[in-house]
Amino acid sequence: MSTVFIPPALRRLTGGAERVVVSGATVGDLLDAVDRLHPGVRDALVRDDELAPHVAVSVDDVVAPAGLAEEVTESSEVHFVPPLGGG
């Protein structure tokens, strides 16, 4: 089972839960699973079946280049974070 951390702004959709433990093979699977438990989370993060432009996903502390398609392991920790840019 992987742990999906819920951004503070979306915790109103999870009844205040900061993390949701679900299983799946990819970030997209996990998000679908979270959304089944707490409808609305997916819509807040996804647009046109991809992560929204202002959202990135970190899997096990690495910003995942594949987005929703990123593969996860049994014990992955997933955070939705702002995308990073630099100077």
Partner: protein
């Protein structure tokens, strides 16, 4: 997973870690290097841009007839010549961009949103004629009240920049109300209230920082030509030719294949040349006139109308126990986005407390539109503002509990596994190692001494954190028949990366670095490569070079095996040649294999492309600084400065030092004197280098660099990337030094003489 690099024997390098002379050096010291403004083409016209004299106004009409009648004028464009584009965030360029905002920033449509906002552009036979014509274009405005300050912009009755802008992440009840706040983002870990309850000392303060500019010496420029079939070619000063191509295509509604962008030599960027301003105008004017067109900004244009970084208003509250454990941080950060959304406030929040292991953290970030130019990236965007606030409070907390501030930092240093406010945990980082190096440094133990009369001396220290970026890069290495190599990447070279990349190729291929010829290619001549930004070139393009060299080595092995008619497993590349593992002493040098390549299968060309997101290694920097404060005038002199940085691995130590020193001095300028000064109507009053006060040589001591190398386990050489973090610590370090000297805490940047004197008058 990652291994602990400290346990591995360090690899012996032949080229990496040396200091060869840069490949572009001779061109740059003899004046031969070709920068964007040096590009000339037959029939070239010169352009000029008409800019708004108002900070906020509705455009009622634009009359170009008098300008068009001026002899020598060949084309005029206004926003009517730009297609309508999508009004929603897209993954564009480095981060996300709203193409409509981008388009409107290039030429104002219905409204101008800042002093200097481009309204029209003209091309003529000489720069003087173009400027005269620009002066003849008559724009009628309905002037609107401007809003210049984040706090004013967040007020309920503030003038609204964008009638259609709604706050993302805001109160759902206000979802229908126009606002200048583009986005509110919350971050939280742990239990902040419990953290403060456990604290013995708590300090809460608010800080303000001024909008500042990257200050590259070369103004923006663009030369464009458009062929009769619509194929456009652009030469410009950019940190990312592929981003210019993508952004221009988006704004002009063109397929990428219709655009070819040549990155000219670039005279500094620091993040400010990661977007577009002149390029689409040059293309439109070239298309309309049938001639190539050159546009070059004046310094005033650069300051008024390109992207500085955000001024900010930050509140921070932190708690510490008597024995020196930081228990909680609670902060709100409001950053000026400028005229269109997109400040680096979220990154500021994420960096703010990242040098520390603090269990309980909460940050709220506000991205706020104001009638100032649209901000762009500037070296570790967002982090410096945040560090100024947090790092001065940490210093003050240490003094409050009677602990050496450096020791408090070391005791609370972030390490591998420490979670950050946005959730993810630090990977292998060198924060503690950096603090220990600072404690051990000569500077830390050197006596401060006393100054004369009203002058007081003090010493300060601060740290800074920056993520660094990975992103995409491409590289090709062609082995020439004479045994030399041509290395092509798509990363515009600002700080010497051509040579660092050549060094990595030389290291792998066993060649002297002088025999690797690096060049930076245009968008048709190399695979997609993201911007020179995010401290990513040596990391990510370096990784592509490393991988391309492996490709070359594999091909060389194949050719050797083919020559010897043996299996590829029976040969091995080693130190510039291929050895046979079965025939003792049989060896073909790279040069021999190159010369015979035609007979063994054709030219040898290695290539690699990467998305280096997984390879990123984060950066820590620190500054220790001595100042002398003239307590009667408030003038602050920096008298000694040492900069510390965990660089992972220094490929070319002199260039690494250069990044550390240059960033430090930009940070010193930010700390002491740089600021955008607007009058009440929103006119920028200091749109030149006389009054936008960047440090000059006489303002500074030598900047002593201390390189710390805690290898990034996710990179073949341990590289982290060095470009950005050096700017983060200086303002806080200097504020701490001023407090050490005088007891006064300055809570606003810049800490200019009037501000310092005022703080001295009000000190407790």
């Amino acid at each position: 997973m990652s291994t602990n690099p400290m346990e591995e024997a360090p690899r012996e390098y032949r080229v990496i870690g040396t200091r060869p002379i840069r490949h572009d050096g001779i061109d740059k010291v003899t004046g031969r290097a070709v920068y964007g403004a040096d590009v000339s083409l037959p029939g070239l016209l010169h352009g000029s841009v008409v800019r708004s004299p108002h900070a906020h106004a509705r455009i009622l009409s634009i009359d170009t007839s008098r300008a068009a009648a001026l002899p020598g004028v060949k084309a005029i464009v206004t926003s009517a010549d730009l297609p309508e584009v999508r009004d929603r965030e897209e993954a564009l360029g480095e981060g996300s961009t709203n193409p409509r905002h981008l388009s409107h920033n290039i030429l104002a449509h219905d409204k101008v949103l800042y002093h200097g906002h481009a309204v029209a552009a003209v091309a003529a036979t000489s720069p003087h004629v173009a400027a005269e014509a620009a002066g003849l274009i008559q724009v009628e405005y309905e002037v609107l009240p401007p809003v210049l300050d984040v706090r004013a912009a967040m007020a309920d009755d503030a003038p609204i920049l964008h009638a259609d802008l709604r706050t993302a992440g805001g109160d759902p009840k206000k979802a229908g109300t126009p606002s200048n706040v583009a986005m509110i983002t919350e971050f939280e870990i742990g239990d902040v209230e419990a953290g403060f309850a456990a604290a013995d000392e708590i300090i809460e303060r608010t800080f303000d920082t001024a909008m500042v500019h990257q200050g590259y010496i070369e103004p923006h420029n663009a030369v464009a030509k458009v062929d009769p079939d619509g194929q456009a070619t652009v030469w410009c000063s950019t940190q990312g030719a592929f981003d210019v191509r993508h952004l221009c295509a988006e704004v002009l509604g063109l397929p990428l294949s219709k655009l070819r962008v040549y990155p000219a030599e670039i005279g500094g960027g620091f993040g400010g040349k990661t977007t577009i301003y002149l390029e689409p105008l040059a293309i439109l004017l070239a298309r309309a006139s049938g001639h190539p067109v050159k546009l070059v900004m004046s310094r005033s244009d650069v300051l008024r109308a390109t992207g500085p970084t955000s001024g900010s208003h930050i509140r921070v509250k932190m708690g510490v126990t008597r024995d020196g454990t930081l228990t909680a941080v609670d902060a709100s950060l409001a950053y000026e986005a400028g005229a269109y959304p997109g400040s680096p406030v979220r990154m500021g929040a994420m960096c703010m407390a990242s040098p520390f292991a603090i269990e309980n953290q909460r940050m709220v970030a506000y991205d706020v539109c104001v009638n100032r130019p649209k901000t762009a990236a500037y070296r570790a965007p967002g982090a410096t503002n945040a560090a100024f606030a947090c790092e001065t409070i940490v210093d003050e907390l240490a003094r409050k509990i009677g602990m050496d501030p450096l020791e408090l930092r070391r005791k609370n240093a972030a390490h591998e596994g420490t979670p950050m406010v946005h959730g993810p945990k630090h990977r292998r980082i060198g924060c503690a190692e950096l603090l220990e190096a600072a404690q051990r440094s000569d500077h830390a133990s050197a006596p401060l001494g006393n100054a004369d009369g009203p002058r007081k001396r003090g010493r300060g220290f601060a740290t800074g954190y920056w993520f660094n970026a990975g992103l995409q890069s491409s590289a090709t290495i062609s082995i020439n028949p004479d045994g030399t190599a041509s290395l092509v990447t798509g990363s515009p070279d600002i700080g010497g990366t051509r040579t660092s990349c050549a060094m990595m190729a030389a290291e792998e291929l066993g060649l002297p670095v002088e025999l690797v010829r690096p060049s930076v290619a245009d968008t048709d001549s190399i695979g997609l490569t993201d911007v020179t930004g995010g401290s990513r070139v040596t990391l990510a393009t370096g990784l592509a070079v490393h991988d391309a060299a492996q490709d070359v080595k594999r091909q060389l092995c194949e050719r050797a095996a083919r020559t010897w008619k043996c299996a590829i497993e029976e040969v091995r590349f080693d130190d510039g040649g291929v050895d046979s593992l079965v025939q003792d002493g049989e060896r073909l040098s790279l040069a021999e294999l190159a010369k015979g390549a035609g007979r063994t299968g054709g030219p040898i060309v290695g290539r690699a492309t990467v998305n280096a997101q997984r390879n990123v290694g984060s950066a820590f920097g620190g500054m220790m600084v001595d100042v002398e404060v003239d307590t009667e005038t408030g003038r602050v002199d920096v008298t000694r400065c040492t900069v510390f940085q965990d660089v992972g691995k220094a490929i070319h130590p002199a260039y690494v030092e250069g990044q550390m020193q240059g960033g430090a001095v930009q940070g010193i300028g930010w700390a002491l004197n740089e600021e955008y000064v607007y009058d009440d109507e929103g006119h920028l009053e200091n749109d030149g280098f006389l009054d936008y006060r960047m440090p000059v040589a006489l303002d500074l001591p030598m900047i002593e660099p201390v390189i710390i190398e805690v290898a990034n386990p996710a990179h073949p050489y341990g590289v982290r990337g060095v470009g950005e973090v050096s700017i983060v610590a200086p303002p806080a370090a200097i504020a701490n030094a001023i407090a050490d000297a005088t007891g006064a805490r300055v809570e606003s940047l810049p800490m200019s003489p009037p501000r310092v004197l005022a703080a001295l008058h009000t000190r407790p």
